[in-house]
């Protein structure tokens, strides 16, 4: 069995880790480099930095954070937020990250995905998708949760894979930040059309939620608040997942 990856996510704004509840009401969660080191030492299998700073200046900060983190953290690093071009991606990959996650820019201009896959290989390209559960199905949302598009989730996932993405990071906004569990129906729908790994994101509150997400088809499990605010360490979480029959990397 491929071990299920546990991925702490650091939402970074102006150089600090924050975590929103439904993308609103940001709270300060700490120094990103320090947190990244702690999560690595604790057994994190990967780390994701999501840059939620607006504007170019802040994005440069994330490049520096990644470069600093990569000196002492030896697991894969993914950076997302504001990546609009091959040049943006190259700058971040050079600073030491392994994968870039694109979201809004790919919806606006899907060819970006094939440009990135051609430039760096598909294993470098993560399609981050924010989805909103509506009465008529899951809709793709862009602009950090502000704009609901007409795009249907599985259509977009199929298209993204055809354009060459190597991994999907799926956040269902209805569940995000509530710590009541991942949106399992959304995960199942994604799993049914994905031939690349799917990272479940949004809603993790307990180890049981991760067990459910694995059953719904997730290959990797992303969480933020439970780690930032100390409900679990990566180590304690993995121990519990292991007891519940989910194979994880021993730490």
């Amino acid at each position: 069995m491929l071990m299920k990856r546990i991925i702490p996510c650091l939402d970074v704004k102006d150089g600090r880790v924050v975590k929103g509840v439904r993308f609103q009401g940001l709270r300060d969660g700490g120094d990103p480099v320090e947190l990244a080191r702690r999560y690595y030492a604790d057994g994190a299998d990967e780390l994701v930095f999501l840059d939620i700073t607006a504007g170019l200046e802040g994005r440069r900060t994330v490049g520096e954070l990644v470069a600093k983190t990569a000196r002492t953290v030896f697991v894969p690093l993914t950076v997302g937020g504001g990546i609009c071009s091959v040049a943006d991606a190259r700058r971040l990959l050079r600073s030491g990250c392994d994968k870039v996650a694109v979201n809004t820019a790919a919806v606006r201009r899907p060819e970006l995905l094939s440009e990135l896959a051609d430039g760096f290989g598909r294993q470098c390209v993560v399609l981050a998708v924010d989805a909103l559960r509506t009465e008529t199905g899951y809709r793709v949302v862009v602009d950090a949760g502000r704009t609901v598009t007409e795009l249907e989730l599985t259509d977009w996932l199929r298209r993204g894979q055809a354009l060459g993405v190597g991994e999907i990071l799926l956040t269902v906004i209805n569940a995000d930040g509530r710590q009541e569990g991942y949106d399992l129906a959304g995960l199942r729908q994604a799993g049914a059309v994905c031939r690349v790994p799917v990272i479940a994101s949004g809603g993790m509150g307990t180890a049981a939620h991760m067990v459910d997400a694995v059953a719904a088809g997730a290959d990797a499990l992303l969480a933020a608040s439970v780690f930032h605010y100390g409900r679990y360490t990566v180590r304690s979480l993995k121990a519990e997942l292991s007891r519940r029959g989910v194979e994880v990397r021993p730490c």
Binding site: L2, A67, F74, D98, F120, G121, C124
Partner: protein, 196 residues
């Protein structure tokens, strides 16, 4: 001094950081002329077999690396760097690898498996303890019937098929996983392979 072969592909920074973390100084080498300043070489790699093979050919590094390996000097190929040690790959049917080990790289069956193979997996060693978890990310693999007639040791893993995860023959070592991304155990592996 460890030479990290730079052929214009992938992220060398992670590998350099990892070497520094285990106290092994390194420099990038992109031309045959600077190889003489190195005691061992690492051929890293993420990317396309054909593009990498072409880049190594055009810079003259392919011939220089073949000479290096044939004179039994210490060499480590990582991921695509392992695959490039073989003769060819289905990823780029016309392209020639370094061909120091016989065999051809094959694609994972994308009809049955999620490809790329991405994540942590146990590596079973022919001698010594297993590596409990190493980080892999690749779409092509080296079949276990490929490689030298005699391995000093070999590690295998399974994803649909059993494949070569690592192996050593003489001064030549290759690993399909990324030791620079495999946490503390990966750093230990780098140190073991490159310090001896």
């Amino acid at each position: 001094m460890i030479g990290v072969v730079d052929y214009g592909a992938g992220n060398l920074r992670s590998l350099e950081n990892a070497l520094a973390a285990v106290g092994l100084p390194s420099r990038r080498v992109s031309r045959p002329g600077v190889l003489s300043r190195c005691s061992r070489l690492v051929l890293p790699g993420v990317g396309h077999f054909g593009a990498a093979a072409a880049a190594l050919q055009s810079s003259g590094m392919a011939a220089a690396l073949q000479t290096w390996v044939r004179s039994n000097r210490p060499f480590l190929g990582i991921c695509l760097g392992l695959q490039l040690l073989f003769e060819a790959s289905d990823e780029a049917p016309g392209a020639s690898g370094l061909g120091v080990w016989p065999g051809r790289c094959r694609p994972f069956d994308a009809d049955c498996l999620k490809v790329p193979h991405m994540g942590w997996r146990t590596v079973h060693m022919s001698t010594g303890p297993e590596i409990p978890a190493a980080y892999f990310v690749h779409s092509y693999y080296v079949p276990i019937d490929a490689g030298p007639r005699q391995w000093d040791w070999r590690g295998t893993a399974r994803y649909g098929v059993e494949f070569l995860a690592a192996g050593r023959s003489g001064a030549l070592t290759g690993c399909q996983f990324h030791p620079e991304k495999s946490g503390p155990r990966g750093l230990d592996f780098l140190k073991e392979v490159l310090s001896c």
